[in-house]
């Protein structure tokens, strides 16, 4: 049952784990993710009068987070020099993310998805993890459905190739080990 406005802060709090996950997918850096999460929560509280009862609170929150992150990226671009980390290797090299490192590395799927571009990562999250329909995810990201599907398709092809490559690499290692 969709939440009522009176209970909005409590209902927002219940969404925090999912929002944190989305923030990690967007930022790839734990501390940035926490900042983004906090900014999203604060924006939601500040704008709670804009939320309409009987609508999906989670999608409203995802939209807010997506919007804040896009603005942040624009801001970083303007400031220059603060590149956006898209690569998992950058995360591994960042000491501030050591808490996450183990989590990422023990899960190959997560690891491979986090290597994708930000656009593709969030498309994967919204559709295949959050279970949104193409149209619903596209609405959150404010992009055409076709664009979302292209991102998903590209992500899936990249993952397929990546998994195939990793499999080949594993076979090579095994072969070498076998002969030593």
């Amino acid at each position: 049952m969709p939440p009522k406005k009176d209970h909005l802060p409590q209902e927002i709090s219940k969404q925090i784990p999912r929002l944190r996950r989305y923030a990690i997918v967007l930022t790839t850096i734990k501390e940035d993710a926490e900042d983004l999460l906090q900014a999203t929560l604060e924006r939601a509280i500040a704008k709670k009068h804009q939320w309409q009862e009987n609508t999906h609170l989670d999608r409203w929150l995802f939209t807010i987070m997506s919007s804040i992150w896009k603005n942040e990226l624009r801001s970083r671009y303007t400031r220059q020099g603060n590149g956006v980390t898209d690569n998992i290797q950058d995360i591994a090299d960042n000491s501030s993310t050591k808490n996450l490192e183990g989590t990422f590395l023990i899960n190959q799927v997560l690891n491979e998805v986090m290597k994708l571009s930000e656009d593709q990562r969030e498309a994967i999250l919204l559709v295949y993890v959050e279970g949104l329909k193409y149209q619903e995810a596209a609405d959150i990201l404010e992009i055409p459905t076709g664009t979302l599907m292209s991102r998903l398709a590209r992500a899936r092809i990249t993952l397929a190739k990546s998994l195939a490559f990793n499999e080949e690499s594993t076979n090579i290692v095994n072969f070498n080990e076998h002969h030593h």
Binding site: S13, P17, K30, E34, V109, V127, V129, A153, I157
Partner: protein, 264 residues
């Protein structure tokens, strides 16, 4: 960029089982005649991965906030991991720094006398402060830490924001260490939030809002299950709020008032 098959969207929807019967038959006809479509679909099939299971591991990173609204006496993580104050030069854009103003002329001994009933406006902003505060756990602010010089700079910055002299009270006597200042929104008005962290448990916030309220002596209350002390003076409304012992909260309010008086 990866080249996509001309019918990529249909094939993706087919792989995701997002097509109706008629559309599926159309795609299957395509697959009967187009080898590249078959190859593309194979790639999509290879990447049918347990995304949800993988990402659900990220849900475990931190406990949900609602489970931590009561006093938390456990703290296994280092508080002083980073040293940073949230002022404009080093803060992320989405976390606008802020500060405290204060020059209250109220005597400390008047602390817990209430002489006026709350106005609706006053209640509204207190509820909003409580709503914000419910979202914070220890982890939210524990990585922030400020040197005295940084606190002074922050005070200046925040003072500019409110056009007032701002004092960030030192509440170390109540074992509350200042962590950061922020400017939040309260119905279109700037709401200054100063966050403090006790040795254990959840954060405490001292918030300031410009208002037209008459001067009000300190009054205790509770909003969203959080105890608070609020007062107004010289066009500024104040509230200190947090899930700590009420006596400790009152003492912190008293201390804050005293310092604001001295610096006002």
């Amino acid at each position: 960029m990866t080249d996509l098959h001309p019918q990529a969207h249909k094939l993706l929807a087919y792989a995701d089982n997002a097509l109706d019967k008629v559309e599926r038959i159309e795609v299957e006809k395509l697959l009967d005649t187009d080898k590249s479509a078959v190859s593309f679909l194979e790639q999509l099939t290879i990447s049918e991965l347990p995304f949800k299971d993988a990402f659900d591991s990220l849900l475990e990173l931190d406990p949900p906030l609602l489970e931590k609204t009561e006093l938390d006496n456990t703290d296994n993580s280092p508080i002083h991991r980073t040293v940073q104050v949230d002022h404009p030069s080093n803060q992320k854009k989405w976390l606008w720094p802020t500060s405290l103003v204060a020059s209250l002329l109220l005597g400390a001994t008047l602390m817990f006398f209430s002489i006026n009933a709350n106005t609706e406006d006053r209640d509204n902003w207190i509820v909003q402060v409580a709503d914000y505060h419910l979202l914070y756990i220890r982890e939210t602010v524990r990585h922030s830490h400020s040197s005295p010089e940084e606190i002074e700079k922050l005070s200046y910055y925040l003072g500019e924001q409110l056009n007032s002299k701002i004092t960030i009270p030192n509440l170390s006597k109540q074992n509350l260490s200042f962590r950061r200042g922020q400017i939040l929104d309260s119905n279109g008005r700037k709401l200054i939030q100063l966050a403090y962290l006790p040795k254990n448990g959840l954060p405490v916030a001292l918030c300031i809002l410009k208002s037209n309220a008459n001067d009000l002596l300190p009054k205790t209350g509770e909003s969203r299950g959080l105890p608070y002390v609020t007062w107004s003076k010289n066009g500024l409304s104040y509230i200190i709020i947090g899930a700590i012992d009420k006596n400790d909260l009152n003492a912190a309010a008293l201390n804050a008032l005293s310092q604001m008086d001295n610096n006002g």
